[in-house]
């Protein structure tokens, strides 16, 4: 111990003349640019997917309904409510938010005497920090999940443009698990799917490599997974939360993956199809398309004796006779149908109701009838020359191709239409042209501009790869015929297809015209239905809607009570809607037939 040791501590006194480091006005201090302060939520961007709620380890976030937020396709209508009594400001909710709507401001002062106000819905309540530019944002180049879709292997254009071999190769196990890993299980897809399939659940089954569980989940709502796994219109993918971070999940391909993995011999065991309680009631189903097959499956599961009447020689309806083999191979379709047959569903083919048997007869022989006969009559453009023998209906040609008949294929073909049927016939014709002439000379023209074409985007892309020329936004004017020979199609520019109210009301510009040379024209502008059999020979008349469709209840029940109607003829647009109709009808029939008991 020295003299120095006694004196040197007094040097600390020099701090008396220093400026203090304390902040004089702490309430005015601003947080740093990245400060994780109070939450902000862009209500317009938020889709209520609840991923923030899922990652919050403190359970500080609850998804709640908010006034002014409607539930729509792709928006649950719920918004995150944050409890600042639980929040620890880790900002994982911000990092995981798929839309990027949830952010944090750098505000950190909030004084109130009421503790309840600290449980609030950011964005829905007016807060001073709502517009703050500063605060924590998820940095770029960093994600808590993979954002890109696992690439699906497809046949190369040069390998597929002459044959009807299936284009899509399907996922391998590793690919499927990797793709399934991207799901955030928000469930927006369930709400949008017409059949409300348990999509996150079966994706979880893929992730856990539990195909049996996956198959069970599929068959709960959809007895045609091989069909839907290939040709479903996948509305689910259009609402997938992951689309905001890159690509939506390949939900359709994952469904196909599950169905492809399980051999049909194991179906009965996995789905527990043995030992239903049999009922002595009989149900007739008209049409073995997706709607009819779906109803047949669920009715058979309920123990009814089901018989399906089909006008064509095989089951499948439009999925067999409308969709070309390169999209849906017939053996895969047969797998779905075969399992329904295994459940004891009887199928009588080549029997047209109204011609071979009357509906009235079915009414007498059966306890209930479900009709899902679909749209099989092609619509014509009715322009001058449309009655020429070289003008064909897409739907007729596609049916003939399925049946193995030789169809007329000219060297130069024009297809009119912008939907998936138009794409199907165009790509089928292109293949046949390639086989016959070694080259493709095919123009597809549609009223709609390319961005609003109803066909799937991948159909448009793949058509082009197969050398189909697409000419969008042209309206057919007339068909040029010289002598007996068809020369081509005159078109005028179509400016818009729908009017302000969203009704079909195309506007044309007569000044801008074009001519597409052709030897053959195929019309694919939509189909009509033939339901004359429903009006002939019945005691009571069916009630119809204003749009001349059969009026049905939520259980697909018509005004005749014993008659249930569904599928495309009640306004559906695709296989999955028909499947949902069939499922609902099965429930309705069960309710109707067991009403006494």
């Amino acid at each position: 111990m020295s003299f120095k040791d006694v004196l040197s501590p007094f040097l600390a006194w020099k701090n008396l003349v220093k400026q203090p480091g304390t902040i004089k006005k702490p309430l005015e201090r601003e947080g740093a640019d990245r400060y994780r302060g109070f939450h902000q939520n862009d209500m317009k961007k938020c889709i209520g997917c609840g991923t923030c709620e899922a990652i919050c380890q403190n359970a500080a976030i609850d998804m709640v309904p908010v006034e002014g937020q409607e539930t729509t396709d792709g928006d649950s209508g719920l918004r995150p409510m944050i409890d600042y009594g639980r929040c620890c400001w880790c900002a994982l909710c911000v990092d995981i938010c798929p839309t990027g709507s949830l952010t944090m401001s750098n505000e950190f002062k909030w004084i109130d005497s009421d503790p309840d106000v600290f449980r609030f819905v950011p964005g829905a309540e007016d807060k001073s920090w709502d517009k703050d530019e500063k605060g924590y944002r998820k940095p770029d180049n960093y994600e808590l999940y993979p954002t890109g879709r696992v690439h699906m292997e497809e046949l190369k254009p040069e390998d597929r443009d002459k044959s009807f071999i299936e284009i899509v190769k399907g996922y391998s196990k590793e690919q499927a698990i990797k793709e399934a890993d991207r799901c955030v299980e928000c469930g927006l897809c369930i709400a949008t799917c017409p059949a409300h399939m348990g999509i996150p659940q079966y994706i979880a089954a893929v992730r856990n490599d539990n195909m049996e569980e996956g198959l069970r989940i599929l068959y709960e709502t959809n007895p045609l997974p091989e069909i839907c796994g290939r040709v479903c219109t996948h509305n689910c993918e259009t609402v997938c939360a992951m689309q905001y971070k890159g690509d939506p999940l390949s939900i359709r391909w994952l469904k196909r993956y599950i169905a492809d993995q399980v051999p049909i011999e194991k179906y009965k065991e996995i789905l527990g199809a043995d030992g239903f309680e049999q009922q002595d009631k009989k149900v007739a189903i008209i049409g073995a398309g997706p709607g009819g097959l779906s109803a047949a499956y669920y009715l058979a599961n309920l123990g009814y004796q089901v018989k399906v009447f089909e006008a064509m020689a095989q089951a499948g309806g439009m999925t067999r006779y409308g969709i070309p083999e390169y999209r849906l191979p017939y053996d895969q379709l047969d797998k779905d149908v075969e399992y329904i047959k295994q459940l004891g569903v009887e199928m009588q083919f080549n029997t047209r109701i109204g011609k071979d048997i009357t509906l009235d007869q079915l009414h007498k022989d059966y306890d209930a009838v479900f009709a899902a006969t679909g749209l099989h009559d092609g619509r014509s453009t009715r322009v001058a020359g449309a009655d020429h023998p070289m003008v064909f209906q897409a739907i007729d040609l596609l049916r003939d191709v399925t049946e193995g008949k030789k169809i007329t294929v000219a060297e130069k073909v024009v297809v009119i239409g912008g939907g998936n049927v138009a794409m199907d016939i165009a790509r089928t014709m292109a293949r046949l042209q390639n086989q016959k002439y070694g080259k493709v000379q095919l123009i597809l023209t549609s009223l709609e501009a390319e961005d609003i074409m109803p066909a799937d985007v991948e159909e448009i892309v793949e058509s082009r790869e197969e050398n189909v020329v697409i000419e969008p936004a042209w309206g057919p004017k007339d068909i040029k015929i010289e002598g007996d020979k068809l020369k081509g199609l005159n078109v005028i520019r179509c400016l818009s297809v729908f009017d302000k109210d969203g009704h079909f009301n195309p506007r044309f510009d007569n000044k801008e015209s074009n001519f597409f040379e052709a030897d053959q024209i195929v019309e694919a502008i939509g189909q009509g239905m033939d339901i004359k059999y429903m009006s002939e020979g019945l005691e009571n008349k069916l009630e119809m809607t204003e749009r001349n469709r059969v009026k049905v209840s939520t259980f697909s029940q018509s005004s005749l009570l014993w008659l249930f109607v569904g599928g495309d003829i009640t306004g559906g647009t695709d296989a999955i809607t028909a499947i949902a109709d069939g499922h609902r009808a099965a429930k309705g029939i069960d309710k109707y037939l067991n009403r006494e008991t």
Binding site: S8, P9, I55, Q57, C88, Y136, Y142
Partner: protein, 392 residues
């Protein structure tokens, strides 16, 4: 002092193994509880002291006042959800928990993190060390009646927290290290502001060193207090500055190099005296070293590039079956995470090895004997213990 020694030979009587024979019924001893709410104890733990006069005859440590069950909680959390939790295990130095757990799961899942992320992690850990030392030195001086040092060191610690705030978005719980890397890059102009802060640390340290180490009061109380025998180092599991002050050069940064420490230029600081004074002196040198290391890091590290590896979906991230032990050198020594995974989306078992466990529980019981009751606070702080990490 010699007066006290006069009675030492006679009273209290000793057991053959040298421990004191304590008979409370004799009314010659008094039992005192120091803690769990006591300013002289770091955090919520208690010392059950038996005194004779003002000398400690026996010390029993009691923990359990701060048990929050983190290890158990983690077994019910997804891996990513553990990160807002683990940082709370050691309040003044949370980043080591994040780093050790992140490194554990990365090792078990076989993930390689980008180079920039390694540099960022090293920077964060070193900043965290500096901040923790600054908090400690205030406590150490305060325990010996030098409240002023605590005011200075807390001010510069606050400047360090400002740097943390602009870098990570959080002041105390940074939650910046996630599996796969870190959550961002350096903000613009960070190096300049950091250099300013480091300068203020150095200025303050000049004052602190003069006030503490050339101070007769501090010297009288700290010199010779709580001497650790180098032989105890392995016996008691003593690590970090406590071991280094006893002349045992234990430093995870050198012994088991991790992150970017092998690329930094530094030596392990050791001392020989091994009393409270030496430990304080050694840690003051460590603060200087930390400042130097942060300068080295900012000079060498890349300022951009990938900072997060491409990760699977965190919401259902499953880690294959395995176990690992990851360690890092925090201010108190070796901080370790023993993690067991079973192939599910949740950790099967996590065991946190906080260095305070051995220092504050077993070692304290030994060192407190024969020390003055007024010095127990200073003694405990000189071991640099944080009870939260004892009770995970």
């Amino acid at each position: 002092m010699t007066d006290t020694n006069k009675y030492r030979d006679k009273f209290p009587a000793k057991n053959p193994d040298g421990t004191n024979i304590i008979d409370l019924e004799s009314h010659k001893f008094v039992k005192v509880w120091q803690g769990p709410q006591h300013p002289g104890i770091t955090g919520n733990m208690a010392l059950e002291l038996i005194l004779q006069g003002d000398e400690v005859m026996s010390c029993k440590t009691h923990v359990g006042y701060l048990h929050r069950g983190f290890e158990k909680l983690m077994e019910r959390r997804k891996f990513i959800q553990c990160f807002p939790l683990v940082c709370r295990i050691a309040v003044p130095e949370p980043d080591f928990n994040e780093y050790c757990f992140a490194a554990s799961v990365e090792e078990l899942a076989g993930i390689e993190i980008p180079e920039t992320a390694k540099w960022m992690r090293t920077l964060i850990l070193e900043m965290s060390r500096l901040t923790s030392f600054l908090m400690w030195i205030g406590g150490q001086s305060g325990a010996f009646g030098l409240g002023i040092v605590g005011q200075w060191s807390n001010l510069i610690r606050d400047y360090m927290l400002d740097r943390f705030e602009e870098l990570t978005g959080g002041r105390i719980y940074r939650m910046f290290i996630l599996p796969g890397g870190v959550r961002g890059l350096l903000p613009d102009g960070f190096e300049g502001r950091m250099e300013e802060t480091l300068k203020s640390v150095e200025t303050a340290m000049n004052d602190i060193e003069r006030t503490m180490f050339s101070n007769s009061i501090f010297k009288r109380r700290a010199v010779g207090l709580g001497v650790i025998d180098p032989a105890w180092v392995d016996q008691y599991g003593i690590v970090g500055p406590n071991a280094r002050a006893a002349g045992v050069p234990k430093d995870v940064r050198k012994d088991y190099p991790y992150l970017k420490y092998p690329e930094l230029d530094f030596d392990v600081i050791t001392a020989t005296e091994s009393d409270a004074y030496t430990r304080t002196y050694l840690r003051a040198k460590e603060i200087r070293l930390s400042v130097d290391l942060i300068r080295q890091l900012l000079a060498k590290m890349p300022k951009d590039g990938e900072f997060m590896a491409k990760m699977p979906n965190m919401l259902h991230w499953k880690i294959p079956k395995g176990e690992t032990y990851v360690r890092a050198e925090c201010t108190r020594g070796e901080y370790g995470y023993y993690t067991v995974t079973d192939g599910s989306g949740y950790p099967r078992r996590v065991n946190v090895r906080g260095p305070s466990y051995t220092h504050a529980v077993a070692l304290m019981e030994k060192l407190a004997i024969d020390c003055n009751i007024a010095d127990t606070a200073g003694l405990m702080t000189s071991l640099h213990t944080y009870p939260p990490e004892i009770e995970r």
